[in-house]
Symmetry: C2
Subunit: 384 residues, 2 copies
């Protein structure tokens, strides 16, 4: 297809010079190295390196030289060997991304945010999935340490109490950021949604729609998010002079399966219904819980939102597609991924330039997304 390369002959003219033509490389994948570029261009490896990296010394290199070297590199299809580069420069340009459970739909947008920001900054993400298991978590961290990642991002909404391997990251001055949870102390940056504000947003919405008999499905104790969301609800109630009926408050059990809250929501709602205590709205811990609740309500012949409004939390992808579509509190997940990357990048740059920098604990603002599952309380149900 393409015409034969002009200087094809000079390419392998002294191949095998290094080890007398031993049995290495079967002739196919002979990687072209910097020395090859040096040889072809007629300059030394040092010069090649300086030119190709546009190092400070490049200002002294004659333009003609640069051109020749760049051309040779291009012609040979030279690609620097990242490993060699890393070994010498101590920079791997990779970042560990640890998901505690990739199955959680909440992870996907975060992951996209992380990947995107890393890509922009020319870092490569090395992925690890802990499968909710502590030993996998630790083994994976170990692996990331061996690979000398320059930073670590951990995505989780719950986690093991003592992760002493994380201490190794601090010892080695590797910046760590967490998304969805916070580590006590000031060693680790974090990005979380403002759960308290989110809880408030949702209950306020229901309240303003006229609902006064609101059932609540609280999140499992294990999850970091549960407490602050509930706190936001309580604070709003207190401020509005609204008294929460404790008999309408239930709580999801602890569970490691991120999709279990659907079942949980379903069961708890059925239990609530059995109590025969009327409620005109239900606020669920998260979207899956809300979907489970809707399922239970529908099954019991209660129309959503006609007879009962339901609100969720998170705005995962399916919330917009469910029937009825779900009113929920959106977490800016992708943005949170970006922010975490920014935080660790700042850390990397700082220690590169021997600057000091400070750990950040960021809270992002949740946003109320009103869809079909909530509606102003109807007279017939309200006056029940």
């Amino acid at each position: 297809m393409s015409p034969p390369l002009q200087s094809e002959p000079q390419l392998p003219d002294d191949a095998g010079h290094r080890d007398g033509g031993m049995k290495r490389d079967g002739g196919k994948g002979a990687a072209v190295t910097m020395r090859d570029v040096a040889k072809v261009s007629g300059f030394s490896p040092a010069t090649v390196s300086i030119v190709l990296n546009n190092a400070p010394l490049a200002q002294y290199i004659a333009p003609a030289t640069k051109k020749k070297i760049e051309e040779a590199a291009r012609k040979l299809g030279y690609r620097p060997n990242a490993m060699a580069r890393f070994l010498r420069s101590k920079r791997t340009h990779s970042v560990g991304v640890m998901l505690i459970d990739i199955t959680d739909p909440y992870c996907t947008p975060i992951l996209r945010g992380i990947e995107n920001s890393l890509y922009q900054a020319s870092y490569a993400p090395i992925l690890a999935d802990a499968h909710n298991q502590k030993n996998r978590f630790e083994r994976a961290l170990e692996m990331l340490l061996e690979r000398h990642v320059e930073a670590l991002i951990v995505v989780a909404n719950w986690t093991f109490v003592d992760i002493h391997v994380l201490a190794d990251f601090n010892k080695r001055n590797i910046p760590v950021a967490t998304i969805g949870w916070e580590l006590p102390g000031d060693t680790t940056s974090s990005v979380m949604v403002d759960n308290e504000a989110g809880g408030r947003l949702a209950v306020e919405h229901l309240y303003k729609l006229g609902h006064r008999k609101i059932a609540f499905i609280r999140g499992p104790k294990m999850l970091i998010d549960s407490a602050p969301r509930w706190k936001g609800i309580q604070k709003f109630a207190h401020g509005a002079g609204y008294e929460i009926d404790q008999s309408l408050v239930v709580q999801l059990p602890d569970s490691l399966d991120p999709n279990s809250s659907f079942d949980g929501g379903f069961r708890l709602t059925e239990e609530l219904l059995q109590k025969r205590k009327k409620f005109t709205a239900l606020m669920a811990f998260d979207d899956l819980t809300a979907l489970g609740a809707i399922r239970a309500l529908t099954k019991a012949g209660i129309e959503v939102p006609g007879q009962c409004s339901v609100a969720g939390f998170d705005d995962v992808a399916l919330s917009a597609m469910s029937a009825p579509s779900l009113t929920t509190v959106r977490q800016p997940l992708e943005t949170m991924g970006n922010l975490a990357v920014n935080a660790v990048l700042e850390g990397i740059n700082a220690s590169q330039e021997k600057r000091d920098w400070t750990i950040s604990h960021q809270k992002t603002s949740p946003e109320l997304v009103i869809r079909e599952s909530t509606r102003a309380v109807s007279l017939s149900t309200a006056d029940d």
Copy 2:
């Protein structure tokens, strides 16, 4: 907490021997190297390497020696530097994982399958997300090449025609496997669901429920999956002597947004309804399309499955949670991830041992998952 280490003194006794105590390492992250282990244990780096890797030569090493070295390594918290190791041994133990769009819910289980199999085999996944953009795809491949991944796995259900960067992988003998699509030629392994069988499965199910007026929403031309699914449908119809009513067949437009099929399903179903041509069942290209269709039907006052059955394809996470839950054809996504990893690992091992190995094109069996959205045709609607 722990008692002072016995041999603490001998540890840094000759620190700085290498470069006369220059300004390097501020004292914090001093990485412990193999030489340190050698020094402390009293043996040479060579011996340490042999012992710690349990290399063939290790059979000649005295047990006492092994013990001392291992202990020293443990005490010092020695962690081999992966980059150095890679440089010498030419093995990075990493695999590139390229997603054409991570946002697609279909990717998540595949990703878990890939990650899991790689983890078992002690390979690290380097993640890349093409965002449906050709230039990102290529730049990411470039990056993976520089990092000398030992294999590449590409997840996509459509893709750009000419990816000449992939040729570089072949040139370098790096095994490539694709999930969800196939490359012509025998250079690349692939794993796909048997779409034809799946299409058949779904339509057969509807047929057996008594449906004879079935509407079809075909997939976009761009997607690899569309044609074979349709073929499976046609073949079944032909075999069963069932004639597809072409006026009930519509097709999704091409689109890059993986979530657009929900809207597509919604709109196309509305159009079908406007035609006022009766149908008792609808078979959608995938789950999101099906959900969109259900939405449109419900909106038009048509009950699902009471008045119209709907079947999807894929069994993404939300299918089980939607209302009504969706009858669909499940792709064994996680398994497909595993299979792709097996394929490339086989390639890696083969070229390691200078064996030949063959490209594989695997088709996994889809599985019909019957849920609430389909039902036997009712007399009232059938006799319309």
